[in-house]
């Protein structure tokens, strides 16, 4: 199992999610982060104070996938997240030793195959 960590632009999130769901990636976790890279730094003014914003808004996407699934997933993200301007972000692939599904205790492969909830279950 691998953990794919992608940093993307918030504006691209909808595209990326859409593409991932389309590619049958059904489980993922996102969080709002801020990044620094080659981007232009925004200048802001508050009364007499002028500041340069060294961080820009990004979204961090975490996806645990089984090995054979890594490349396709990475390709999907790259395709959907790219705008061509500096600041598009990065994708990292990290090794996972084990992964558990809390609800069932299942491990690895089984842990990441989602089971759609039946309505009444929510």
């Amino acid at each position: 199992m691998k953990l794919i960590v992608a940093i993307v632009r918030p504006e691209q999130l909808s595209e990326v999610l859409g593409a991932l769901f389309h590619a049958e990636v059904r489980g993922l976790t996102i969080s709002r982060v801020q990044g620094h890279g080659g981007e232009i730094e925004q200048v802001e003014n508050y009364r007499g104070t002028t500041v340069k914003m060294a961080l820009s808004e990004k979204v961090r996407i975490e996806i645990a996938v089984s090995n054979h699934f890594v490349q396709p997933t990475v390709d999907v993200i790259i395709a959907a997240a790219r705008t061509g301007d500096v600041g598009d972000g990065k994708i990292m692939v990290l090794p996972i030793e084990t992964i558990y599904r809390i609800r069932t205790g299942e491990q690895d492969q089984d842990a990441v195959t989602p089971v759609p909830a039946v309505a009444a279950a929510v």
Binding site: E44, N45, T50, K52, M53
Partner: protein, 429 residues
């Protein structure tokens, strides 16, 4: 003059002035946080230049004796506008009270163009619009113009304020075009409590708007006041029932919208109808706007905060129903359809159409003029970043993470430099 009347008109003017900040919150809560300040500023800024040009020229064009279509320069620069009585209050106070109406009317338009219209172009637009469109239209109805002569009833501005602003909003939304995410991505309200706060303060201020239009603390003011309390209550109730019937869930954004729609609907009728009619008017008035909101969202028209559905449809409905419910027994004024005067309905429709036609045309011309000098809309990637940063150089909410102080010696100090480089064109207003 009468201190009781002066006191009430002082309060009413303050209340109507408060409506513009209130509108800023009503609108500001409904946009994405990256455009929160830009949206609020579109309302707040109207309190500056619009008030100034109103005092210098607008008031004169609207209320100085003139032709049936426009006033004159007689009151330009406030000459002759002093503390002498105009009715039972000082003339100067009347000028100020009317000024608050001009301010809120231009602010209403902004709802159609938020999240993409460049702020600089917006500033130029509202100044020209208040002089070129608002002032004449106010003259037609309240300044002794041709709609007044025709006998049109508009107690506090159903046509002058709401239909007028909505027609301008429609044209502006079409000329400026859709937001790039429109109908592609969900754009949700970033702070619904702000929208509720705005609705609450709008209702509060609207008592000055409607009951103040009686220009004194008279029984008619009391009538207008209670109608302004009952009609929105009925609209809110109806809206809630439709929500429950359609989906079982009463939405907060819907409730805030219902309050505003109810207030819009009762505006032209406030001092002309009885309280029972106000309940009926409010209840009936909910329906067209409710469904207009839903249909609009399925069209290509990105009237982002639904100025047309709320103020246009609501204002027209109210103006026409005024012709239906107007009741001499309550107002001492003319009767409407139910009072055996069907003609009034036609006059009302005529006034709505006249305002709509002129406002739409005037708005189109003004926008095209402005566009000759200033690009109207922000570049696509600016929309992505949000207009708060690009057009105001600020963020609504910041934790200050990664903000690096720029010293006065740094080239980036002050606003322009970097901004200008980074956005050679189309970016910063």
């Amino acid at each position: 003059m009468n201190n009781g009347d002066i006191g009430w008109m002082l309060v009413s003017t303050a209340l109507v002035l408060l409506m513009t900040p209130a509108l800023g919150f009503f609108y500001g809560g409904m946009v994405r946080s990256k455009n929160a300040l830009n949206t609020m500023m579109m309302s707040f800024i109207a309190l500056g230049p619009v008030a100034v040009v109103w005092a210098l020229l607008g008031y004169s064009l609207a209320f100085a004796p003139g032709s049936p279509v426009v006033g004159s320069f007689a009151f330009a620069g406030l000459q002759g506008v002093g503390l002498q009585a105009q009715g039972t209050i000082p003339h100067l106070l009347f000028m100020g009270f009317q000024g608050t109406f001009a301010i809120i009317t231009v602010a209403l338009i902004s709802g159609a163009v938020v999240e993409r219209m460049r702020f600089g172009a917006y500033l130029a637009f509202i100044v020209l619009w208040v002089l070129g469109v608002y002032a004449p239209v106010a003259h037609w109805v309240w300044g002794g113009g041709f709609l007044a002569s025709a006998g049109a009833l508009d107690f506090a501005g159903g046509a002058v304020v709401h239909v007028n602003a909505a027609a301008a909003a429609l044209v502006a939304a079409l000329v400026i075009g859709q937001r790039k995410d429109y109908a592609r991505h969900a754009m949700l309200p970033h702070n619904v409590p702000f929208t509720l706060l705005g609705a609450g303060l709008l209702w509060f201020g609207w008592f000055g708007f409607n009951a103040g239009s009686a220009l004194g603390a008279t029984p008619i003011a009391a009538l207008a006041f209670i109608n302004t309390m009952l009609a929105p209550a009925a609209t809110l109730t109806t809206w809630m029932v439709i929500d429950l019937v359609r989906g079982g869930r009463v939405t907060a954004v819907g409730a805030a919208t219902a309050i505003v729609v109810g207030l819009v609907v009762v505006t032209p009728a406030a001092g002309y109808i009885g309280p029972a009619s106000a309940l009926a008017l409010g209840a009936i008035g909910a329906v067209p706007s409710y469904f207009a909101l839903i249909l609009r969202a399925r069209t290509k028209l990105d009237d982002s905060l639904d100025v047309v559905a709320a103020h246009g449809v609501g204002g027209a409905t109210g103006a026409i129903l005024t012709g239906v419910f107007a009741d001499a027994a309550w107002s001492g004024g003319p009767n409407g359809l139910l009072g055996g005067n069907p003609g009034q309905v036609l006059i009302q429709i005529y006034s709505v159409l006249a305002v709509l036609a002129y406002s739409a045309t005037g708005t189109f011309v003004i926008l095209k003029l402005v566009a000759l000098v200033l690009p109207l809309r922000a570049a696509g990637r600016v929309e992505g970043v949000g207009l708060d940063v690009t057009d105001h150089g600020e963020e609504a909410y910041t934790a200050g993470d990664g903000a690096i102080l720029v010293s006065p010696n740094d080239p980036a100090y002050g606003q322009s430099s970097v901004a200008a480089i980074a956005f050679p064109k189309g970016g910063r207003s």
